[in-house]
């Protein structure tokens, strides 16, 4: 879908990136200053790379070898920026349709009504951007990019200028658009929460270098990537299906593909639904024998697969409990428990610490 190999030096900053993005949502993750925005601007044609090539949907947009550099307006890349960048002199409707003259993007152009419905813009169409709230503006900006019928959508930290409440309002909309239009999307973020929620695959960028690329679940369960993939907030992504509901306690039983069982709170409506959970490594406790009479509901029997030392007296562990699970405990506990590879362990996770994505 997208085949990208780029190099660019700006002063003492060197960016070198090479990756393939398939259909679905690929997240580009890294701390501030990692070069994420520079990379996205090169894809959009706003900055010319020193060398490399960009191929999207079978079309070469840039090639230093073949001396190709397609100008911005002919790249068919939809862009959602950190700031909304709506045109102040146009109504919401005119903003939305500004780029919709472009037909070359997809065989079936994105429909205006559908975008307006999903993003909830019906009542805003005749208003000017100045009278909209921050969240509304960003919703319009997303709709505008979609309606330009792009071959690929780049979202550059689209939620970073919004408060948590607005983020919570827009995240599900992005998920819905993703499943509705199935557009190849590159989502740039430094929020591990957003990424575990949205991403199918993950590219890790740090100081201008690609650290890893692959399915998001695999990357998040790699111990060597903990410093790049969330650091203090690092954790595992677990995909599961709601198998049962216990009405008296509002408890859900989830089953992973490999047969693991988890318990979280939820409602009866969700039976059969697929859910994504995020279990932070720092929320996982370990025991060598099966603990009895304990408040913690999620007790997984498994074994230690791998471990490495982390920051400030911490030990990062990878367990297999029917699914991969990372855990972080102090080195003191690690040594006192005499844990080594293949040691059988019980992993304990309080249901209330598990984040629903």
């Amino acid at each position: 879908m997208a085949d990208i190999r780029l190099k660019k030096s700006l002063g003492r900053f060197h960016l070198s990136a090479e990756f393939n993005a398939e259909a679905g949502l690929t997240a580009l993750f890294g701390p501030s200053g990692a070069g994420k925005t520079l990379l996205s601007q090169m894809l959009a044609g706003l900055i010319t790379p020193d060398e490399g090539h960009i191929e999207i949907a079978g079309r070469t947009l840039f090639s230093s070898a073949k001396n190709i550099n397609v100008p911005v307006h002919k790249r068919h890349i939809g862009f959602v920026f950190q700031e909304h960048r709506l045109f102040p002199h146009y109504s919401v409707r005119s903003n939305l349709t500004y780029g919709s003259g472009r037909r070359a993007g997809k065989a079936t152009p994105v429909s205006f009504d559908m975008v307006v419905n999903i993003l909830g813009l019906n009542t805003l169409l005749d208003r000017k951007p100045a009278s909209l709230s921050g969240g509304e503006r960003q919703r319009v900006a997303i709709g505008r990019a979609l309606l330009s019928n792009p071959k690929i959508l780049i979202m550059d930290e689209p939620l970073s200028s919004l408060d948590d409440a607005r983020k919570a309002e827009i995240l599900p909309l992005i998920e819905e658009l993703k499943s509705e239009f199935n557009l190849t999307t590159l989502y740039i973020s430094h929020s591990i929460e957003e990424i575990t929620r949205l991403a199918d695959s993950l590219l890790l960028l740090d100081k201008g270098e690609m650290k890893a690329a692959g399915p998001v679940g695999d990357i998040l369960s790699r111990l060597d990537l903990v410093p790049y993939a969330g650091g203090y907030d690092a954790g595992t992504l677990v995909e599961a299906r709601v198998a049962a509901y216990e009405p008296g306690h509002h408890m859900l039983t989830l089953e992973t593909e490999s047969g693991g069982r988890l318990y979280i709170t939820g409602s009866a409506k969700e039976i059969g639904a697929a859910v994504r959970l995020r279990i932070r490594a720092r929320d996982v406790a370990l025991a060598k024998t099966e603990p009895k009479s304990l408040s913690i509901l999620n007790r997984f029997e498994g074994r230690l697969v791998d471990h490495c030392s982390g920051a400030q007296g911490m030990e990062e562990l990878l367990l297999n409990v029917g699914f991969p699970l990372t855990a972080r405990i102090t080195r003191k506990s690690f040594e006192e428990m005499k844990l080594t590879k293949d040691t059988p362990v019980w992993a304990l996770v309080k249901a209330v610490t598990i984040s629903r994505s």
Binding site: H73, F81, F87, P88, G99, G101, R102, A145
Partner: protein, 231 residues
Amino acid sequence: MSISPAELDVILLSLKVALWCVGISLLPALLIAWLLARREFYGKTALNVLVHLPIVLPPVVVGYFLLVLLGNRGPVGGWLLEHFGISLIFNWKGVVAATAVMAFPFITRAIRQAIEAVDKNLEVAALTLGRPPFMVFLTITLPLILPGILAGMTLGFARALGEFGATITFVANIPGETQTLPLAIYSLLQTPNAETAVWRLVIISVVLAFAAIALSEWLTRRSIRRLGGNF
């Protein structure tokens, strides 16, 4: 007070000259303002200095340069005469040329500041939506700088109404041909016992100036409202 035919001639000539001045300056001013605001190129500083020169040079000097360049035997004037049959010497077209050169820096400056105030990111966003650069200029930049263009036009118009030094040097002070308001006031000041006539033209000048500013304020406010009102 009723206006005499002689005074009416002066007023109409002044208005005609000022309108032509703004009319022929606008597109070149827009182009140069855009170049200065948005492009980097070799000789940008030189162009900037050249545009601003009429503000800092004595108007008489500008008038003399015009005489040399645009006179019937000058390099530009001779060419105009030969190819288009246009002579600028001692007629109203010469006044337009003189006022246009003097007003140009004011018009360009106002438009340039307006262009610099437009968020470049909006233009970038428009490009990513698939519109070619010229369309982006027409649909985004131009509407957003409209208040600045109006301000520049008003400044240019007022400058043209008031131009004296370059005009009198280039095309002299000929009643009915090149005598605009300031030149007519100057002539009357040289005439004994013409204080009343001087005062009448002075008041007319003030009224015209006020009217121009009021009209421009009204147009500017209207365009800002139309543009979404949040600048």
